[in-house]
Each structure stands twice: as C-alpha cells, then as structure tokens.
Amino acid sequence: MKKNKKLFFILGGLVIISLLIISVHKVSRLHVNYMTAVDDHPLNCISCHVYTQKDGIVAKLINEDYLSPFNMAVSPDGSKLYVIAQDGDALLVVDTQTNKVTGKIAVGERPHSVAIKSDGNTAFVSNQWADNVYEIDLSLLKVVDTLKTGSGPAELAFSPDKKFLYVVDSYSSEVSIIDLQTKTEIKRLVAGNNPVAAVFSPDGSQAYVTSRRTLPMPFETPPITELTVIDAATQMVKERKMFDNAYLMENVAFTPSGDMAIATLIRPKNLIPSIQVEKGWMMTHGIGIIEQGNEGRVIQLLTDEPNAYYPDPFDIVITPDGQKAFISHSGADVITVIDLNAIRTLLAESTQKKLDYYSNHLGISSRYVLKRIPTGANPKGLVLSPDGKNLYVAERLEDRIAVISTENLETIKTINLNGPSRITVARKGRRLFNNAGHTFQYQYACYTCHPDSHEDGLVYNMAGADMGRNLANTRSLRDIGDTPPYKWNGKNSSIYKQDGMRFSTVLTRTEAFDYDELDALVAYIVTGIKNPPNLRYNPSGHLTEAQKRGKKIYYRTHTNYGEEIPVYNQCATCHPPPYFTNKQMTDVGTLSETDDPMLLDVPHLNNIYESPPYLHDGRAATLEELWTKFNNDDKHGVANDMKKDELNDLVEYLKSLRDAKYYKNDPEYH
C-alpha cells in the first residue's frame, strides 16, 4: 500500500510534469505560430528572444563592433588608401604596398566621406551624424580642427583653387561652402532632395551634386531627382538637371576629358501595380549621363539584363584614359565594367527619343557592359589608384577591400581591415537585407526601397486584390522592433511574420527565407537599425520656444474655444511616447476611395521629420498638410480650431521628436 502510494506520487508527478511540458510546448507552439504565421517553425526560442536583444550582457556577447568600410580616398602618390569605417567611426590608413592597416584615427559619429588635400598631408572627414567635418593632419594622424556644416555632411569636394570646401549636407539638402582660410561656412545652396555626392568638372568650372530622394512631387506622379550644377565662379546654383523617373543617385563621376558625367541611379516602378517582378516591373538600375555637348543632354541607361538585375548601384569611377567606368552594385555583390566608347557611340547615333526608349530597355546593356566582376558582400565605395591600374572596392559587410586590376578585370587581392572575424547573426541578417539574392532574378534588395534601412520616400501601388488600389507609403525601418504591428494595415504582428512566406509571395516572388535566414534578418532589423540623432531640430533636448508651445498643443485637452477634446482624439492618446504610437489600429478619416476598408496602424513618430511624404498613402507632402488638407472632419486630432501659428508650433514640436531612448526615462513624458 505504502509502496503503491509512493508509486502513485511518482507517477502522478511524472504525469503533471509531462502535462506541464506538453502544455508549455502547446502554449509555445501557439505563441510561435501566432508570431510567425507558420506552423512548422522549429520552436527555437533563441530566434526571437536572444538575437534581438538590443542591450545588456547578452547583446554584448552576441554582437560585434564591425568596421564597415564605406568611402575611400587614395593619397596623391598612391601609397596610402584612406578608408572610412562607417560603423567603426574611424578613418583607417592602409598601406597599399604591404596591404596592412597602418593607422586608425577616431572620427565623429557615422563618418561618410574623406577628401585628401593635394599635398597629401591633410584629410577632411565628414561626420554625417555629427553635422561637422574634421580636419586631420595625416602626418600626426590627429584631428586638428572641426568645421561646422549643415545637417548630415556627406561627400566633400575642394574648389578648383583649393580655397573652398564644398560639403554636401545630405539631411538638410544643401551644399555648404566652407572658406578653408577662415574655416567658416560662408553660405549654403539648396541642392536636390537628400544630396550625397559632389564632384567638380575636370575644368573646374562647375560642381555636380547628385541626390537620392525625389523632389516633392504631386501625388501619384513619377519621381524626379535632381542633379545640382554649381557654378564655381559665382558659387551659386547654375542649373538643376532633372532625372525623370529616377532616384538614389548615389555618386557621379566625370570623364577626364569632361565629355560626360555619369551618375548611378535606380529607376523605380512605384506607380505601376506591383503585380509581377518579371520584365523589370518593380525596379531597374542603371546610370544617368549628362553630355557636355548636345546642350547638356540628360540620358538614362540601364545596366540590368532581361533576366538578371544588378541592384543598388552605389559608386562609379572612370579610368584616367576615359575608356572604362566601374560601378559597384551593392545589392548584387558585383562590379560592372562599362565600355565608355560603346556608350559614346550609342549616344552619337541616337536621338533623344531613341534614348528615352532605351532608358527602359533591358537588353541595351549588352552593348556597353564589358564584364561583371563578383565581389564580397555589399561593395560600396570605389577608388582608383592614381595610375588607374588598381581599383579598390570597399566590401562594406566584409570589412575588407578588394583590389581589382583594371586591365585584366580580375580581382588580384583583398585587404583585410582587421574587423571582427566572427560573423554574428545580425551581421548575416544585414547581408541578407542588403543583398538581392532573395528576390526573383535579383531585382531588388530590402535596401532598395529602404535605403540606409530607412525609406525611399516613394509610394508604391502594392495592388492588394485589385490593381490601382491600396497605395502604400514606404515606412522607415529604424528602431521598429518595439512598434508592432507591422504594415499599414497592421496585419503582421511581428517582423518574423512580416518577412515570412507571404512576403515572398507578393513582394520578392521567389523562394522564401528559411528560418535561419529569418532569424538573422529579424535580428538585424531589431538591433541594427538606429535613428540618426535629430541634430536639425532637437540636438540637445532643449526645445525651442515654438517647440515648447507646440508640445503644449500636442498634450492639450481643450480646444481654443474651451471645449474638451475627447481623449480618443487627443494627439498623445494614439501617439504616446516613447515611440509616439499606442501600437493600435485606428481610423483617422484618411482612407481614400481606392483603399479597402480597414483600420490603419498608428505609426511611430520618432524622427518623423525625415519621412515625408506622410499618411499611409503618402498623400500629405508635408506635416502641415496632415491638418490643412486631410483633416477636415477633425478625425486626425482636433486641429481646426487652431490658428496658423499654432499649427506651425505643433509642426515644430513634431519635428523635434527623436529616438525613443530619450523619452523612456524622461518623467516629463510619463
């Protein structure tokens, strides 16, 4: 009896434990099924609960501090290569003979470009997230001065007389002209939207500045991206070359004779219902050419082929003999070699009309593409040795420089920059994010529509059930880990689900990510995409007077007429800090006739100033328009009682919103 009792207890315990295990298993299964929208996910808790740790010891253990080489410059004698380590916040000095890193200079946050003075002794490095340029004495390897710029300084160019430094302010969309004698900014010129690159023509008479985002265009009209021409003599903008239906013009180069300037670009198909990838229906990639003759004709040609795409062209360099151009396709891990004489012949024999036709032609590239040279992950900056014999390629997600012979067009060696040897899960995810291998025929990467993991400023016709319906404004991916659900219709409860099977069915249209890949991608998206500091509108946390007034309006509970605003219609109800979203679905009266009836995900508002246009379908070109044009019924917050200056204050406050971390422990926001 006693024995039996014991046995009974043991058995009972076992049953309970196994029941527990079974139920825990069951609960986990349910949870995982819900979060991933599949039912065969291996119940691997690490996937979502370890790799996505943003801080703490675990995060430290599973992550690494990579260098991520980005842009480069070479010393006038060719002996040194200067490499911007974008994630390492450093300028690396590489000896091109020994292939060794010989120096490392700490620079400001998120450096972008480096320019070397012709004497080889001084470098200037733009710190994109610090709004300044460092002057570096290369003999001492020391930062000797800091030059204030506009917001988001990117590429640097010396004026032909070397007296001025032109700094492309990528965030404030300007070019700062800095007097190198007084070290002060003398003026800012308006450039295109999100300009990045600047280069002077060989004769020094003008500078070309390319930009990435489209100019603000009316709703449902094609993007137009500007190349700004600055006259060196007057230091004023002389002309603005418009590239229809193109964007992301990352870099530009002149031929040595100056007969052409060539920029990289992408030709998106955002206005066409996204019903297929085949035949270039989503994205095409290529170059923009400005002829010096022919009244400065603007031409666009693709570097893609009918069944093979080469996404995210980034940098372009042209050999000193003017015969070849090299383009880094950062989404395809390929360098394309272009025969410039073939381009010249094509241009000479073609009318503008023909060239316009060619701008959508996937076969024409056979005429001028000499070769595709494979590279390591995510090739970005390119630079040629002064003699033109070697091409250096910054393999960003490889922490490596490839050296390619420009004569036999083969990779002759690679230079290891001594980054971490381990490839973390998040790093693998970042490679996946940047690479188009998971899209049918390599047509685009995640990065293509989410450049810098942000958004591309376009509205896509995502064609739900029917075509021409449910337009979707691309959303930023910065710091979105804690802002579920995802998609404007909020259908995805997790990033895991967002990037799962359905994603491949309607977007990439090729084989879905496997679970390891999904783990990696999610880890990168959750931990690796940060908001830049809001240096333009809120550098220190001290609000301006207008922002303070705007904050009061944001948190107000009564209208100007003293009427109480219902809680559901107060700004802070749906948009509470730290993310300024309550993560709920709601209707603010912004659905249009072409939208299926649905509730919309309340978007987070951190760094909202960086994401025009606004609303789920991008109808509002500016923040003001949210209320002046699309809130007639006061459904998107009560605003129609406000005076114009109050609206301005509210907008100023919204522009001040920055990364969520600033609001998490601020008692004022709780």
Binding site: K269, I275, K279, P306, K354, N360, L362, G468, S504
Partner: protein, 484 residues
Amino acid sequence: MNPMKIIFRIGYIVAIGLASLCLNSCRNQSLEGMVVFTRVPAGNFDIHGKAIAHKYKGAQIVAINPDKPGVPEIILTPDFYSACSPDISYDAKHLLFTAQQKENDSWQVWEMNLENKTSKKITHFEESCYGPAYLPGGRLVFSRQMPETGTGPVHALYTMDLDGSNVSQITFQPHFDYTTTVLHDGRILMLTKQLFPQPGDMMYMAIRPNGTKTELFYKGPGSSILNNQVYETGDGFVYFIEWENGNPNSGDIISINQNRPLFTKVNLTSGITGSFYSVLPRQSGGMLVSYRPSDAGPVGLYSFSVEDKSLGAPIYKQPGYYVIEPVLVEAFTRPKNLPDDTNPEKSTGLLLCQDINVIAQPDDAGLSDNAKATKVEVLGIDKSMGIVPVEDDGSFYLKVIADTPIRFQTLDKDGNILYGPSGWIWIRPFERRGCVGCHQDPELAPNNVVPLSVKKPPVSIPVEDSYETEQSPTIKSLNKNEKE
C-alpha cells in the same frame, strides 16, 4: 494450422527475403557519376526531331559509366515495353521517366529509386503523359495529352506531388506544351507549339510552376525546330539543340545566355557536319552530346568541347540504336522553390496592359493617330469575348475568366483590325499579369506611370452579352473555315 504448412510458409518467406536481399544487393549497384540515357531502336526514332514528345516504342533507359568505356551498359527499365525521358532528382537518388508497360498501354510517368532500381507509377491518366521533370518542394511537372476537343492533339503541362496527389493543370492553350527543364530561378522552361487555329512555330517559354507569368524565352529563326531537352549551367548558359529554319539534317548545339536569352544565341556546331540530337553539359566542364555524323549510321554519345567547338571520340555507340536524352547521375543545386500566388477558389484573374500602342524601336515620328489602336478585342477559342475600349493612355485592365485560352487583336477607332490576333494566353485564378504593350520589344521594362485603366474597376471578360451576339469578323471567318 498444419505445422508443416507453417514451417513451409516460414521457409518460403525467408527464402523470398533472402532472394530479394540478394537481388537487391545486385540491383543496389550505385549509379553515382554514371550517365543515363534513352536508347531507341533505330527504326522507331524520329530522325528529324519534329516530335515534341518522346514516345519511342521499344526504347529503354540505360546507364553507362562514361569514364569506363567498355564496361557494359545497365538497362534500367527491363520490365517496361518502352521507356523514355529520364530526369534525375536533385539528390541524384531518384529518376523520373515516362514509360509504357505493355505495347498498347498509354505512356505514364514513373519514378525509379536509383538505389534499388524499383519503379513506382505516379500518373494514372487515361491519356498518355510525357516528359516529366522534378520540381522543388516534392513535386513534378509533366505533359499530358488532352482529350480531343477539335483543336488538335493538345498537350498541357500538369504538376503534382511525387506521390501522385495534388494534381494541377498549369497550361491552358491549344498547344503542344512540353517541359524541357526547370531553370535555376525556379521557372519551368516549356517547349510549346501552337496547334489551333493553325500550327505555329516551336518556341521555348518560361512559366512559373503555378502556370502564371508565361513569357517567351527563345525562338529560333523561321520555323526552327527545337529540342525538348534543355540544360542551364551554373554560369548562366542555356544549351539545347536547334534545327535552324527547320532543316532536318542539321541539328546544332545552341547556347544562349539565361540573362538575355532572346539575343545571345551562339551556334556551337555550325562548323560540324552531321546532326546533334541531345546536349548535356557536365558540371566538370565539357559536354556529352548525341550525335550522328552522317545520314547513315546510329546516333551515338560523344564528348564535346565547348571551347574548341570540337567533338571527341564516341563514348557509347551501338548499331541499331539511337542514343538520346543523356542525363548525369549527380546531385545538383535545387532550383528556387517559387511561391504560389494563385488562389484556386477564385474563378478569374487580372490582366493589365500598359500601353497598347507601344511599339518596338520607335522612330522619331511616332505613331500617327490613324495607326493608333483605340479598342482591343478578346477572342476565345470559337467566339469573341468582347471588345474593350482602351484608355487615352493606351492602357486596358481586364478581369478574365481563369484558365481559359484567349487571344487579342487591336482595333482602330473604326473597328478595323490593326494587329493580331496574338498568340494564346491564359490567366490563372487570382493571377495578376502585366504587359507593357501588345507587340512591344520583349526586353522593354514598363514606363513608371499610373495606367489610367487601373483607376477604374477591371472590365470583365467575357463581356456580358458579347459572348454570343457580338461575333467578330475574325471568329466568323474562323468558324466558316472550320465548317469547310
């Protein structure tokens, strides 16, 4: 039960077991690295390559070791009256083929376990099934002869799970459709030839395994004849045999680039007399080809160097037999498993044409107004399905009854036919297909504009009432011809 009987029975079972073990060990000879091909009795072979489906009486699937000439071949299909079209699985452990067990049987698809050489019948249609190929995700694709409906010997592509379940027809046109290979990007490369209303030319078309987004891949000059066996290599080349301009005596090895298949054709054997029937690139480089030096003599298996464009010595050659369809028993990279965006519960799909008036290589003048189409007519097999006016930008947007063959012709403002009828197309349930124009350059990407037509709901095809009443001149003449 009688103990004796029990003992006898046990003995019987053991004996059978032992026998089968023995047999198995004999059969379990590894085929890794061997070449498998179809060996056709000379008299039964279609020497001009015109037959799309391979269904040679008395043919056998045979394996040899190409590196060990002289070692006798292994006949893999001794139990079948005829067997053709071997296709190796990605792990090289299984083989699909089409066969008839007895002389008057229909041809069906079988799968052989290459370890134990046992075969399992997969398809069970009344009509014959040919040309099987493995698809990722445990499925296969094959060509099925369709019941006669007056449009000729139509063959359609089907897919199914390897256990024979989940059968799905994926092509719907009065054509002879036949699988040649599955491309690395996951699409099926289909050899196809129009049968109705008049015979068309052979061409290769790429098609997703769910039957959507069919597009022209390659077509030879004139009435070139194309082989039903195609290979894509890891470096992006696609090889096949083409009888240029239908010349029956000169099957040549052709290479095209998968990146730009329409305009990268290279004839590798134009300098070699005789005729080629099959080509098999090897991962190690080089090729195995089926070749016949002259009008007389058998078709043998040869090695071929792409670089030198020269033939090597024959590897296998046997009088009275023609050797075709070589495949390597060697694991290879699985093609992409493309997702399926169709919805079998829907009965329609959508079709968007961006600009009916886009033409290839425009001259500077552009189209005159008179030459511009303002309407498009949708034609069914034997009736017009409606005339739809196009928008000012030349676009039209249709909701088409699914899995039904249709053709288009463009009409000017007075109803005169400008272009067409086009080739047949069909739309899968819930498929959403786009085309830039009706007769544009196939390498043209669409212009980035919002087509006016998608600002409205799609026009349903067939247009109500037009099905019977609005008979187009084309259909009328068609029907008349048929009656005659």
